[in-house]
Structures are given as C-alpha cells and as structure tokens.
C-alpha cells in the first residue's frame, strides 16, 4: 500500500483526485493496481507494449525510480510515489 500523487493533467483519469492509495510492495505492483483500477490512466502513462512512456517519470519519495530498481523498487506504506509528466506551457 502506498500513496500515489497524481499531477493535474492526469487527475481527469482518477475521478479528479490529487492522490490515490494503491496496493503493492514494489513500484510496479503499486502502478499495476492503480492502473488496473483506473484503466484510462493506464493508456496515458504506459505504451501499448506496457513500458512507462518516456515523458512520464515516476519518483519514490524524491528519487527517480530509473536510478533505483525501476519497477522492482520496494515500496513501504510510508512511501509516496509521484507521477510527473512533461509539461511545456509557458506563454
């Protein structure tokens, strides 16, 4: 079980919530149960081949999971996962 912070552009896929609790003991499991419960979110953050999209980063607390053990990174109940997609606005 871990808390997952959802950024503004993706809140529309999780009933407009800014954070969601999801089951799992690794990052991969937490994201799997999260996107299982919210299939529209799955299409946004994963490719059809099931890979995390290259404009979506996932952080365990303040660390990018690409520099931990990616999907296999262990998650405890006190951890917070953040999904941080690329945004380009500025004008």
């Amino acid at each position: 079980m871990a808390k997952v912070l959802i950024p503004t552009p993706l809140r529309q896929y999780v009933e407009k919530k800014d954070s969601v609790e999801a089951e799992g003991t690794t990052v991969g499991e937490v994201l799997l149960s999260l996107t299982g419960a919210h299939p529209d979110l799955r299409k946004q953050i994963y490719t059809e081949e099931g890979k995390l999209r290259s404009f979506v980063n996932v952080y365990l607390n303040d660390e990018d999971i690409r520099y931990l053990e990616k999907d296999k990174t262990a998650v405890s109940a006190a951890d917070v996962l953040s999904i941080v997609p690329s945004i380009a606005g500025g004008a």
Binding site: Q12, S54, D64, P85
Partner: protein
C-alpha cells in the same frame, strides 16, 4: 566598468546587501541573458531582470499581443493589443530601466538560427510554450555550454530547474522524448491560472540572478514542483543521464536536429479530405442538411461559447460514448481551434465511421468568419 550616480541610487538596495554589493551589481551589469519568449513566463522575467540591472537582455518573440494574453502577461497592457510582443515588452523594460541594453530577435528560434543567437549570451532563460522549442533550446544550450534556466506551467502547477550548468543534467535527462502531439494539453487548450507564470517566471529570474552573482545554491540537479492549489513546493532529484543522447558520455546528437519532426508535429498536419471550413459548415446549416455537429470540448467551455445545434461529447468521453453516434450519419467534429477535434476524427475513422470531417479552426474560426457574437476565449 563602473556604475553611474543614477545607477548607484537605483540599485542602492542591492548595493547594501553583502551578497550583491558593488561587485555583484557590476557582474549583473556585465551579464547578458537571452529570454526565449515574452509571454507568461517571459513577462515577469523580462521586467524583473531589467529592474535588477542585467546589462544586456535579448528577447526572442515573433507573436503579437492579443486580449487572451492580458490576464497573465503583465508586461503588455490593454493598449498594446495588436502590437508585436517584442515592441511592447521592450517599451515596458525601457520604462523600468533605461540602462539595460535590449537586443531584438523578432524571429522564431529555429535549428538554423539558434546557435548563432544563443552563443552571444551568458545564459538562456526558457519561457517558451511548446515542446519543439524546448528541446531546441536545450540541445543548443548543451552544445554551446550555456546554462538553461527552465520553467513550465499548466493550470495550477509549475516546474522549474536549471539545465546544462557545469556538467549538470539537461532537459533530455529529465524527459528523453516529448509526448505525442495533443496528448498533453497546452495552456491555450487546458488553461492556466494567470498568476502561476508570475511565480514560476520569478523563480527562473531568481536563479538567473544567482547564477550571474555566483551566490547561493543553484537549482541544479533538483526539479522544483509547485502546486498552487495545495500551495506546496516539492523537490525531486534530477541526475545527468550518462546515456543522454546530447549530454551523456557518448552523445549521438552533436548538432541541432529537426525539432518539429522529433516532436511529431508534422504528422499532425491535417489532410484535406477530412477538413471542412466554417463557410461550408454555415452553408450546410442554412440548407438544413442532415448531419451531426459534434462538439468535443469540455462542458465548462460550452458555457462560454457554442455553435447552435451541436451535440457535446468531450474528447475524453468519446471512446465510452461512441455508440451514441450513428455510423451512417455525416459527422462534423469541432473543438476550440481544431486540435482535439482532429484527434476525435482520427479515432472515429479508425472505429469505422467513414463520413467524418474536422471543422478547420474550430469555434474560433466560426466566431471570426461567421458569427462574431460567439465569444472567443
């Protein structure tokens, strides 16, 4: 280099701080900063960097001021609507501080001109609004070894960091590739809190000034996230990716590339047989032809403006609600300016709807050419 008496007075509150002082103020006067974009982020950046006494500021913009800019682009005023942004911005900056030398680059930054323009400055501040220009600015800064002070905004959220500073990470280390066109909405599509670019732009301005003064801890290797709704700042670790194609150990990008192509923008060009313009739509309505006018905007946008007779299914709901549409009908899809509706057309065509067209220019074109009483937003 020295300060004039007028400058000593003007910068007095800087001069009496040990972290700036005369030495720091002279560093600012000797410094040159390139601002890419004079929009939401660029407006506060340009005003404060001019006020702070940065000696030379280059502005890159080729847009004109319109009414929809005014709720956030505070460097432009109501009487500036219709003027080139670069003129309006330069007038405001000269009024704030006539000592600053301003360079005018009234062009789109491209792979052909970026290196030449950027090479003439100490650092770059990225206030653009699109992925191709952001990757272009990033790559050019990495190739030239210029720090790139980055900020981006969406609705109530902002991100800021400093890229390409002394071997630190770059934009591609953070995001290797942009999203496909249309997947991540722009401010024009998704909206932005007017104040938000003020907050993020001034974080960028602060970092630019710190880099020039060489004081404090630069926002390098850290991605700052700002959520205005929760009023919360967070910080995430950002590392240089040793496999980064531009700043990694074995770079594969050693010169500027085609960024429109890299970001897939060209693929989005509409093909003629699926487009219909507002004049033809008007004729069809006047002739009382049978067809479905499908509006794929959000409910709150319909409250601002609508074309009479349209059926609303927001783009995000289209997949679930496709069955509400009849395959044998002619369907004309519209949104605000044509982006979302072209995605809807593509989806419907894939789903077996053969007679589907996209209204070119959306409801904005309808307001321009057919019914000016429909408000533009």
């Amino acid at each position: 280099m020295t300060l004039t008496q007028e400058e000593v007075l003007r910068y007095s509150r800087h001069l009496i701080m040990p972290e700036v002082g005369m030495e720091g103020q002279l560093k600012l006067k000797a410094a040159s900063v390139l601002l890419v974009g004079t929009g939401g982020l660029g407006a506060p950046l340009a005003m404060y960097l001019a006020a702070a006494g940065v000696g030379r500021i280059g502005l890159v913009d080729f847009d004109t001021v319109d009414h929809t800019n005014l709720h956030r682009q505070v460097i432009h005023g109501t009487s500036d609507v219709g003027r080139p942004k670069i003129d309006s911005a330069m007038d405001s900056m000269r009024e704030i501080n006539p000592n600053v030398k301003l360079d005018r680059h009234e062009v789109a930054l491209t792979s052909e001109n970026a290196l030449q323009i950027i090479a003439d400055y100490d650092l770059v501040v990225d206030g653009t609004d699109n992925f191709p220009t952001r990757y272009l600015v990033n790559d050019a800064c990495v190739l030239l070894g210029k720090p790139n002070v980055y900020g981006s905004i969406f609705r109530f959220e902002g991100q800021a960091t400093v890229f390409a500073y002394k071997g630190g990470p770059c934009y591609r280390c953070l995001y290797a590739e942009p999203p496909p066109p249309g997947l991540v909405p722009s401010c024009a599509e998704g909206g932005v809190l007017g104040i938000l670019p003020g907050v993020i732009g001034l974080i960028q301005a602060t970092e630019a000034v710190k880099l020039i003064l060489r004081v404090g801890e630069p926002l390098v290797g850290r991605l700052l996230l700002y959520d205005a709704l929760a009023m919360r700042f967070r910080e995430l670790k950002l590392r240089r990716n040793s496999e980064c194609p531009v700043c990694g150990d074995h770079p594969t990008i050693t010169q500027l590339i085609d960024y429109q192509e890299f970001c897939g923008v060209r693929m989005q060009e509409p093909t003629n047989n699926v487009e219909i313009d507002v004049l033809d739509l008007k004729k069809k309505l006047d002739n009382k032809e049978q067809f479905t006018l499908l509006d794929v905007r959000e409910v709150h946008e319909v409250l601002i403006a609508r074309i009479p007779g349209s059926t609303l299914i927001p783009l995000g709901d289209l997949e679930k609600r496709t069955t509400e549409l009849d395959r044998s009908d002619e369907i004309i899809v519209h949104c605000k300016s044509g982006g979302r509706s072209s995605k809807a057309v593509e989806y419907l065509r894939k789903s077996g709807y053969s007679n589907v067209k996209n209204l070119t220019g959306g409801i904005l074109a309808w307001s321009d050419k057919i019914d000016p009483s429909v408000p533009k937003y």
